[in-house]
């Protein structure tokens, strides 16, 4: 009756697409050429959308913006892996996936330009609004996954968080609820190595973030988050498992925040330019392009055409953003409750008198 082992657990890491564009043929998922070039197009579009926002911010035409540069692969992979009825619960850098799920580009820009209408998404788009308090959205992911299960719906809640978010109690409660109630939820941790200025190693003494799944008795896996195929494979496994009613999965997507934390931040204060340079060579877009080129699915003319197309699309989003009428001051009051209570009507009246409308 000595020391016995009551649990053995291990965490795997999945990589398929190398930085040089070569792939592991055995693990390579069955994606059509269109799906693969679609992923590429998506990622290029995300990067352009992001770059434009940073530029607009510098010009004073955009509010604080959180760049997704470098983190496109996981978003493009989930865009293909998710079913139309699935839910996206984003952290703060999932603009790319939100676009892919149907959020109009100018609407999303409006959010970052300091306009609440930027979270009024179309009816048929199952995307939650950005949750600013870090980690709090993970609980919503668990809750949707429970809700879908209780309602007998097939949809899965794909829920993003950052490496920093794994430190909040919310992460714990979310994954624990999801495990207990076999929620139809996939948790994706975009481990981009930094939480503002705090490096991943200072966030937790755990060797990987994926192993945190063990605490909840749920599967966890680490993937190269700059490898669109690896993320896709992990995403499909997790989505299928959730849809089959077998419960949640934690995916740690190891990636890198190539930009500053936000446009209000200067990462040069706290991180080594060499580290950034090293990660630039692992760029998820470059990698996929190399693969596509090696397969004859991509070339310079297509690239040029895409650049033009994406550029025009981005400009159209900016135009649509700037064409939005100014927000109505009354909207400050109109959406607090289903019906406006008298005291709020009074306050709205005060303001309207003041602004003269």
């Amino acid at each position: 009756m000595p020391r016995t082992t009551v649990l053995r657990a291990s965490i795997e890491r999945l990589e398929i697409l190398a930085p040089d564009g070569s792939v592991d043929g055995e693990l390579m998922p069955a994606l059509t050429d269109e799906e693969m070039t679609g992923m590429y197009r998506d990622m290029v579009r995300m990067r352009a959308y992001d770059a434009k926002a940073v530029k607009l911010q510098r010009q004073g035409r955009m509010g604080t913006w959180a760049s997704l540069k470098g983190q496109e692969a996981a978003q493009a992979a989930f865009a293909v892996a998710m079913a139309p009825e699935d839910w996206l619960v984003p952290a703060i850098r999932e603009q790319g996936l939100a676009l892919a799920r149907g959020v109009p580009g100018h609407v999303l820009y409006a959010y970052w330009a300091g306009d609440e209408r930027g979270s009024f998404f179309p009816e048929d788009v199952r995307v939650f609004p950005t949750a600013v308090p870090i980690g709090s959205q993970l609980i919503h992911g668990a809750g949707i996954g429970m809700s879908m299960r209780l309602q007998g719906q097939d949809a899965v809640a794909v829920t993003f968080g950052g490496d920093g978010s794994t430190s909040e109690g919310d992460f714990h409660e979310a994954l624990n609820f999801a495990g207990v109630f076999k929620a139809q939820t996939v948790f994706v941790i975009q481990n981009n190595q930094w939480a503002i200025s705090v490096p991943r190693v200072s966030q937790s003494a755990a060797e990987t973030l994926a192993q945190k799944a063990i605490a909840y008795g749920i599967p966890g896996i680490q993937v190269d988050g700059n490898d669109v195929f690896a993320v896709y494979v992990a995403a499909r496994e997790a989505l299928d498992r959730a849809r089959r009613g077998e419960g949640p999965t934690l995916i740690e997507s190891v990636t890198y925040r190539l930009g500053d934390h936000t446009t209000a931040d200067d990462a040069g204060r706290y991180r080594d330019p060499e580290e950034v340079a090293a990660w630039e060579t692992r760029d998820p877009i470059l990698r996929l392009r190399r693969y596509l080129e090696s397969r004859g699915l991509w070339d310079e003319p297509r690239e040029a055409a895409l650049a033009g197309e994406v550029g025009r699309w981005v400009e159209a989003q900016v135009e649509a953003l700037e064409a939005m009428p100014a927000p109505d001051p009354g909207d400050i009051f109109r959406f607090m409750y289903a019906e406006m209570p008298p005291h709020l009507a009074g306050q709205m009246h005060e303001l309207m008198e003041e602004v003269g409308s």
Binding site: W87, E116, R117, S119, F120, F121, E123, F128, P129, A131, V132, P133, S136, I139, H140, G141, A142, G143, I144, M146, S147, M148, L150, Q151, G152, Q153, A157, G169, D170, E173, A174, N176, F177, V180, F181, D331, R334, F335, M336, Y337, A338, P341, P342, H343
Partner: protein, 350 residues
């Protein structure tokens, strides 16, 4: 037996029932029993309604407010959750945003702190954040207040913090009849509602409560006792204290009107002001500490809208600005009939 959550009758239940107690059969119920019966009734009427929290299932809740619901509605509609308030409220928020109507029990209001982020940063803001695209029809039931000789953190009245941060309605019944009508309304409401249950009077008395479903609108105060000389304003367990005080005052020839606010947000300012304008004197009574308690807001509103009617400063009879004492001293802390009477005398002698 379990009712499938997705099978919702067209149009929901809201419109189907009278907004005031009907003429029909009544039953003598305590407040806690009215809670339980109303939960069962609303779950029966609307298959989207579910109950969740710590110990609400097999155990029927530590106060038995959910007794029998698990047997009747099954584990898909009565969820015994892990011990994590943030998780409970946060998952409920998401459920409410995606087609369900969760009624959450927080075991004691003293344990709501871990859930404050989900309540105030999310539940209260989702409708506004999304300009109406999503909303959160959720009820948070919490036994609150002192007087039951409980350990630390089991006697708190934290209503004020939910009243300064806007977006969540706050309802506090004081009688079994109001409990039923207000809880039904809260469950059918399209926005998050904090439903504070005065546990001290959970079983203190019974009242005839109509058996048929009915609702009482939020934002309408009641006047359980009309009077002429002074207005006593209270909610929850303190309403009984005021009614007791009014009886004592009556013997002294002072006619006190008792205003039971019933909902703190939205507030029925007009009923309160109407009474104060009539009597010219007011005493506000609550269990929470005095400083920055909701009583201050009432005084401020009276000041703003009825200053010239006041014969004396509005008095506040409240808990002290201290931690709620443990059982041996709690009686000294809670506003008593005597303190209310004294305060009334001060307004009369001013």
């Amino acid at each position: 037996m379990s009712t499938r959550l997705a099978e919702r009758p067209e149009g929901g239940a809201s419109a189907a029932h009278p907004v005031t107690p009907g003429e029909g059969k009544t039953e003598r119920l305590t407040i806690v029993r009215a809670v339980r019966d109303t939960l069962a009734q609303e779950m029966e009427l609307d298959p989207r309604v579910l109950v969740m929290g710590e110990d609400v299932g097999v155990n029927g809740g530590v106060f038995r407010a959910t007794e029998g619901l698990l047997e009747r509605f099954g584990p898909e509609r009565v969820l015994d959750t892990p011990l994590a308030e943030d998780g409970i409220v946060g998952t409920a928020v998401a459920m409410a945003m995606t087609g369900l109507r969760p009624v959450v029990e927080i075991q004691f209001m003293g344990f709501v702190y871990p859930a404050v982020n989900q309540i105030l940063a999310h539940a209260a803001r989702i409708r506004n954040r999304t300009r109406g695209r999503y909303h959160v029809p959720m009820v948070l039931r919490m036994p609150y207040g002192g007087g039951i000789h409980a350990p630390e953190s089991h006697s708190e009245s934290y209503e004020a913090m939910f009243l300064n941060a806007p977006g969540i309605k706050v309802v506090v019944p004081s009688t079994p009849r109001d409990t039923k009508g207000l809880l039904a309304t809260a469950i059918r409401d399209e926005d998050p509602v904090l439903f504070l249950e005065p546990k001290r009077v959970y079983r203190a008395f019974r009242e005839d409560v109509p058996v048929d479903p009915y609702t009482i609108p939020l934002g309408e105060a009641a006047i359980p006792r009309p009077g002429e000389d002074v207005t006593l304003i209270a909610w929850g367990a303190m309403v009984r204290v005021c009614l007791d005080a009014a009886k004592v005052l009556e013997r002294e020839g002072v006619s006190a009107e008792v205003v039971d606010l019933r909902t703190l947000n939205p507030l029925d300012r007009e009923t309160m002001l109407g009474s104060v304008r009539k009597t010219g004197r007011a005493v506000v009574v609550h269990e929470a500490p005095r400083t920055a308690g909701f009583g201050a807001e009432l005084v401020a509103q009276i000041n703003e809208h009825a200053l010239l009617h006041l014969e004396a400063p509005v008095q506040r009879v409240t808990g002290f600005d201290t931690v709620f004492p443990y059982a041996r001293l709690e009686k000294l802390y809670l506003p008593s009939r005597e303190r209310v009477v004294q305060a009334v005398r001060r307004t009369l002698e001013f």
